[in-house]
């Protein structure tokens, strides 16, 4: 390492031709990738913004002052505010049981937790209609007691919980399994209570996985369309979430308003991707610091 040129060489590794492709091949592959991603990801994203602002900023902003749009935003926030904490509690509880204990049927349980991901959103909505709908198993009883679940807010919340069910759990389980239980056992042996151990030992070590799961769960809860569409009944101002409102506006040929609400959801997804990258980056930095 005597000359500057050599040290520069060390920082920017020269790619040996035996284990790298010719420059032309490399450029071609990069071009193919960027074209494919550009056509499928970037162009549709730009189109949303373009369509929303087609008639100017004024027309764009008016779309959010409409009472039905505000009601849809409120309902989306409400459904998420109920589904998210429930799935966080479930995720923590499932991960604790699965990662810290050895018991029979564990692998089956893990597979069952993942199940909602492989069920079509439409089928997810359908199962609640079959259970709680007027013709459903519990329908007559619910009607007799004047409880409305399908075509009402509780159905929307249930469908949202179902489609976001595995997110937090599946982030936490592998992480907590990898961490083992030595630290918790040490804390307990030293006299900490179960709750103290959870709050002071377990939670700090899983906070990034937990946050990651929460971010993904939140995005899906706010954006779910198929499952919610089946149970909602599409009553304007009452049982319409934001994605359903987008559909109604679109089908009424009110494109500016449809794309305006859609742009809000698109912004949410971009924020989600940014937050996801940030969490990945922060947790990897922290891991490096912990392991010198």
């Amino acid at each position: 390492m005597t000359t500057g040129v050599l040290s520069l060489d060390k920082r920017v590794p020269r790619i040996a031709s035996t284990v790298a492709e010719p420059v032309l091949v490399r450029l071609a592959l990069i071009l193919v990738s960027l074209t494919f991603l550009g056509l499928f990801l970037f162009v549709p994203l730009a189109a949303i913004l373009f369509e929303a602002l087609k008639h100017g900023l004024g027309a764009y902003l008016v779309s959010f002052q409409e009472p039905d749009a505000i009601a849809a935003i409120e309902l989306t926030l409400l459904a998420t505010a109920i589904a998210l904490p429930l799935n966080v509690v479930f995720g923590l509880s499932a991960a604790w049981a699965i990662a810290k204990f050895e018991f029979w049927g564990k692998q089956v349980l893990i597979t069952l937790i993942d199940l909602p991901f492989s069920v079509s959103p439409v089928v997810a909505g359908l199962i609640y209609v079959l259970l709680f709908g007027l013709q459903g198993a519990l329908g007559p009883w619910l009607a007799a007691h004047d409880i409305k679940i399908i075509f009402a807010v509780p159905g929307i919340v249930l469908a949202t919980i179902f489609v976001t069910f595995p997110f937090v759990a599946r982030e936490l389980i592998p992480h907590m399994q990898a961490q083992g239980k030595d630290e918790e056992e040490a804390a307990l042996v030293l006299g900490a209570t179960g709750w103290q151990t959870f709050w002071r030992v377990t939670l700090p070590s899983i906070k990034w996985s937990l946050l990651y799961g929460v971010i993904l769960c939140n995005a899906r809860a706010m954006g779910e369309f198929g499952a919610v569409s089946v149970v909602s009944g599409h009553i304007r101002g009452e049982t319409n979430t934001m994605p359903l409102h987008v559909e109604i506006l679109y089908n009424e040929y009110n494109y500016v308003a449809a794309f305006a609400v859609a742009s809000l959801l698109a912004l949410l997804s971009l924020v989600t991707l940014a937050a996801k990258s940030l969490v990945e980056w922060t947790s990897s930095v922290e891991q490096k610091e912990n392991r010198p």
């Binding site: 035996t18 284990v19 490399r26 592959l29 193919v32 990738s33 494919f36 991603l37 499928f40 990801l41 162009v43 549709p44 994203l45 189109a47 479930f90 499932a94 604790w96 049981a97 810290k100 204990f101 349980l109 597979t111 069952l112 199940l115 492989s118 069920v119 079509s120 959103p121 439409v122 089928v123 359908l126 199962i127 609640y128 209609v129 079959l130 259970l131 459903g136 198993a137 069910f165 592998p174 239980k181 918790e184 056992e185 042996v189 179960g194 954006g223 369309f225 198929g226 569409s229 089946v230 994605p243 679109y250 494109y255 859609a262 698109a266 997804s269 991707l273 940014a274 996801k276 990258s277």
Partner: protein
């Protein structure tokens, strides 16, 4: 609880957490899903067969399964290239592109649906250039394929990427020093390492496409026998108050996804890693 527990432990909360997990899982997932099978079992075999095998339903299976398969193939091909480019090459904006790959997971499906329809409609940004070439995308099976390709895009990239990252450069150097050409190294050394992950990603993309609804219904035009996907048919039956018919088709779809879930689990066991994608 000691009956279920395999070994004693000082950690508390096993009964509470496992109990709550099973309770919540049963309440939200297992009991409602079981209800679907109960509803279907009320049908006689003939009624069931009529619901799941009438020409319109069969046409929807052909469209859904066929196009999901083609979309997964497209994603397998481009997904491997994208994963390779993201891991091996550096170019301006690589991190941004890497983060953007997950967009189809994060973007609500209805938003994706209207955006793709706008882009590919006859006077859309891309549609206006395809139309003179005789290619109509919106409201044709090709439109369904575009939507299914969009939503399956991240799966292969995200399963292949970590495998490529963990691949040791020494293996390639060894192959090269033993006289293998670059092409031979890639096909005989790297590809076999990546293949299980590629297959997992392909199957996941296929499974996801089978059940997809939101992004497809806007661009497909929903013509029976031509561009009607199976999830839409379930909703149509439901709107006609044909609950049993809807349940019967849903059972067929559900069994298909269970089989795929088992295959994916098997593949993951084979490739020795859990799926990283969400």
């Amino acid at each position: 609880m000691s009956l279920i527990l395999k070994q004693p432990t000082v950690l508390p909360g096993f009964g509470l957490t496992l109990g709550f997990t099973l309770f919540y899982l049963s309440l939200i997932v297992l009991i409602p899903l079981a209800g679907l099978f109960v509803k279907t079992s009320a049908l006689t075999w003939d009624q069931f067969w009529q619901a799941v095998a009438d020409p319109r339903t069969v046409a929807s299976y052909q469209l859904t399964f066929g196009l999901s398969f083609v979309a997964a193939l497209i994603n397998a091909f481009f997904g491997v290239i994208i994963a390779w480019v993201l891991v091996r090459y550096s170019f301006p904006g690589r991190k941004f592109v890497d983060a953007l790959v997950d967009l189809p997971f994060a973007l609500p499906t209805a938003v994706a649906g209207i955006a793709l329809t706008a882009v590919f409609s006859v006077n859309g940004w891309l549609g206006q250039y395809l139309e003179p070439l005789g290619i109509t995308v919106a409201f044709t099976p090709l439109g369904v394929l575009v939507a299914l390709t969009f939503i399956g895009l991240p799966f292969v990239v995200r399963t292949v990427q970590p495998v490529l990252q963990d691949l040791e450069k020494e293996i390639e150097e060894a192959a090269a020093s033993l006289g293998a050409t670059r092409w031979k190294t890639i096909t005989k050394v790297i590809f076999p390492e990546v293949f299980p992950a590629l297959l997992t990603g392909f199957t996941s993309a296929f499974a996801r496409a089978l059940g997809e609804y939101g992004s497809v219904v806007f661009i497909s035009g929903n013509m029976p026998m031509r561009t009607e996907i199976t999830p839409l048919l379930i909703i149509t039956k439901l709107e006609q108050y044909d609950y049993a018919g809807a349940a019967a088709i849903a059972v067929v779809m559900l069994v298909a996804s269970f089989v795929l879930l088992l295959i994916i689990n098997g593949l993951q066991w084979w490739s020795g890693r859990r799926q990283v994608a969400f």
